[in-house]
């Protein structure tokens, strides 16, 4: 230990070595943040101003990559798709997660079974999720065909091959994979609420739904905020699911920014363009995170 010997006087120089073990233990974290997250990000931002192709090189072209990015229909489509998917996914994940948690919180029988059923998709990767839902939504063999065989000859349910519905197809799969986890968080939140609240509400004769809406939900604000941030972070990273389920198609109807980044960095061998797109994604992350960080850490210092 650093403080083995009793020191006399003001050990200004030795202060650095106090709790040396703690500092040594923090080295991996410090290196990761500085080298990978800060360094990597700055590196990416720096090279987004160059015309790097296959290999990074320092030939600055100013804002050219950004100009091209925002004049690219694919990028605009990707941003729009992500915004649409993101809003839908946020709303549905949170509403579904909460409703399911409320249902499970009704002192039901077989709670464990239901919970397991809802949570197990979370164990599967997006690749698997995308593949299986592509299969189920396949018009020749999936739901459409089964319903048709039941006699509804004109029944059409082919979301993945129609540009205007493909995002819903992704949503069905995304929600299947992720809502169980949201439900878990919500359930934990519900159970963190003091039971006396329920007693008080019953004594006051407040209907159950009103208690949820006006009492429980406001009390669960932190859980909602956390869930929101987790889901939002997942949405920005959306990639595997799209690749596995639609490959961005039909056309570019389900392209997302992460795909654009990957495609331009590696397929198009235009690193500068990929880095510019990355930087824009990073900016959007900050737009999501800064309000949250402000909400979370803004008011309470040395609390």
């Amino acid at each position: 230990m650093a403080g083995k010997q009793t020191r006399t006087g003001r050990p200004t120089g030795l202060r650095l070595f106090r709790n040396l073990n703690a500092k040594v233990a923090a080295v991996p974290m410090v290196l990761t943040t500085l080298v990978v997250f800060v360094g990597g990000t700055l590196w990416t931002v720096l090279y987004s101003f160059t015309n790097s192709k296959l290999l990074p090189r320092m030939q600055f072209v100013g804002l050219d990559q950004y100009k091209r990015l925002w004049s690219n229909d694919l990028w605009n489509a990707a941003i729009w798709n992500l915004a649409f998917y993101g809003v839908m996914s946020l709303v549905f994940t949170i509403v579904m997660g909460f409703v399911l948690a409320v249902l499970l919180d009704q002192k039901i029988r077989f709670e464990d079974t239901f919970r397991t059923i809802m949570l197990y998709p979370f164990a599967l990767s997006f690749i698997v999720t995308g593949l299986v839902w592509q299969w189920i939504l396949n018009p020749e063999m999936g739901i459409q065909e089964v319903v048709r065989r039941m006699g509804f000859e004109t029944f059409t349910f082919d979301p993945l091959h129609n540009p205007s519905t493909v995002l819903y197809g992704l949503l069905i799969a995304g929600l299947w994979q992720g809502t169980g986890f949201t439900m878990c968080l919500m359930l934990a939140g519900l159970r963190g609420i003091d039971e006396d609240i329920w007693k008080a509400a019953r004594v006051d004769g407040i209907p159950k739904w009103k208690t949820y809406v006006y009492v429980v939900i406001p009390m669960m604000r932190p859980v909602f905020v956390t869930t929101l941030v987790i889901v939002a972070a997942g949405i920005i990273k959306l990639y595997d699911l799209v690749v596995a389920q639609t490959s961005g198609g039909p056309g570019n109807a389900s392209q997302v920014p992460a795909m654009y980044v990957y495609r331009y960095m590696f397929t198009a061998q235009n690193l500068g363009q990929g880095f510019a797109a990355s930087t824009m994604m990073l900016l959007s992350v900050l737009i999501v995170l800064i309000p949250w960080a402000y909400l979370e850490f803004g008011g309470k210092k040395h609390g």
């Binding site: 709790n19 073990n21 703690a22 233990a25 991996p28 974290m29 990978v36 997250f37 360094g39 990000t41 590196w43 990416t44 399911l100 249902l103 499970l104 919180d105 009704q106 002192k107 039901i108 464990d112 919970r115 397991t116 059923i117 197990y120 998709p121 979370f122 164990a123 990767s125 690749i127 698997v128 839902w133 299969w135 089964v146 299947w176 986890f181 878990c184 359930l187 934990a188 939140g189 519900l190 159970r191 963190g192 329920w198 019953r202 932190p222 859980v223 956390t226 869930t227 941030v229 987790i230 972070a233 920005i236 990273k237 990639y239 992460a258 990957y262 990355s278 992350v285 900050l286 979370e296």
Partner: protein, 309 residues
């Protein structure tokens, strides 16, 4: 993988946390009860349908798949697709299915999980109990890091690993998993440790225990629920990883997910849906088993601290 940034707080509610708290349902066969179980049933169908389809399809032969519907159970059960997916499916010239990938995945997952959890739990512990100047700044950056799409970091990481001379080695992959698991896990552990009474830590210091002794003898034994959560998240996360697996390994060491992708995308003639589904199930088997076996612990681990913002 969705980022599972669970934020854990006081375990004081742990005991009661697994009990339902909502209002009591009324009589057993009341209308609202039928509604309740009816809804749960419909929801369960939605969740179970893909699993059902996967299992059923994987047990059918190709002719039956072409003729029948995907939801029907097989008329004639065959395990051939499973055999093929496990040991015969081809990618290029390699026709040994997923079997090789399984052990590669094990060799990748085990050390990556252990090391990433150790590093992250020590981080969380140091952040809570041994704050040093700027530690919160590093933590904040780390949290921001958890939201950075991996694609953005891919190129810098390639350069980093090249400079360290461990690109393409198991060490490199472990490092990558440790780095990218760090934000979420650190958050997880930090929040959990900060929910433990600070006085315990102080008492241990008065008792003369140092950094590591407090960590191993006081903190770790009290943190079982959060270690379980971290363990489950990391095992599934690393097992399911595709991007790092494909970029940072080579064919001999491809994990199962990469081989799954190869098998599914190496269409030779017609798509063999039954083999694909069997391969998919085989790949998902480890995380699935973990969830089915220890899912309750996972839920409990999250509930063990309720969630806070």
């Amino acid at each position: 993988m969705v980022d599972a940034a669970i934020i854990i707080t006081p375990p004081s509610v742990a005991v009661s946390a697994v009990q339902p708290r909502g209002a009591k349902p009324k009589a057993r066969f009341s209308g609202s009860n039928i509604m309740l179980y009816g809804t749960l049933f419909v929801v369960s169908v939605y969740y179970l349908l893909p699993l059902w389809v996967m299992v059923m399809t994987s047990l059918k032969g190709m002719p039956e798949i072409r003729m029948g519907n995907i939801f029907a159970p097989p008329v004639e059960i065959t395990f051939q697709p499973w055999v093929k997916a496990w040991s015969e499916a081809c990618t290029g010239l390699n026709c040994d299915g997923l079997s090789r990938g399984f052990w590669n995945s094990v060799w990748i997952t085990v050390p990556s999980v252990i090391i990433s959890i150790i590093v992250a739990s020590v981080n969380g512990y140091a952040l809570v109990n041994w704050r040093f100047k700027g530690s919160e700044v590093f933590f904040t950056i780390l949290i921001f890091g958890s939201f950075i799409p991996y694609q953005i970091m891919l190129y810098p990481i390639v350069i980093l690993l090249r400079e360290l001379g461990i690109y393409g080695t198991l060490y490199g992959l472990i490092l990558v998993h440790t780095i990218f698991g760090m934000p979420i896990l650190t958050l997880l552990f930090r929040n959990y440790f900060s929910s433990l009474p600070e006085e315990l830590f102080k008492a241990a210091r008065v008792d003369g225990a140092g950094f590591w002794r407090i960590y191993f003898q006081i903190m770790v034994p009290m943190s079982l629920p959060i270690f379980v959560v971290a363990l489950i998240l990391q095992i599934t996360g690393i097992w399911n990883d595709f991007l790092f697996g494909v970029v940072f390994t080579k064919p001999e060491t491809y994990p199962m997910t990469v081989q799954l992708n190869n098998i599914v995308n190496s269409v030779q003639g017609v798509k063999e849906y039954n083999v694909n589904m069997a391969a998919t199930l085989l790949t998902g088997l480890v995380p699935l088993i973990i969830y089915f076996v220890s899912g309750k612990l996972f839920v409990r681990g999250i509930a063990a601290g309720a969630v806070k913002g």
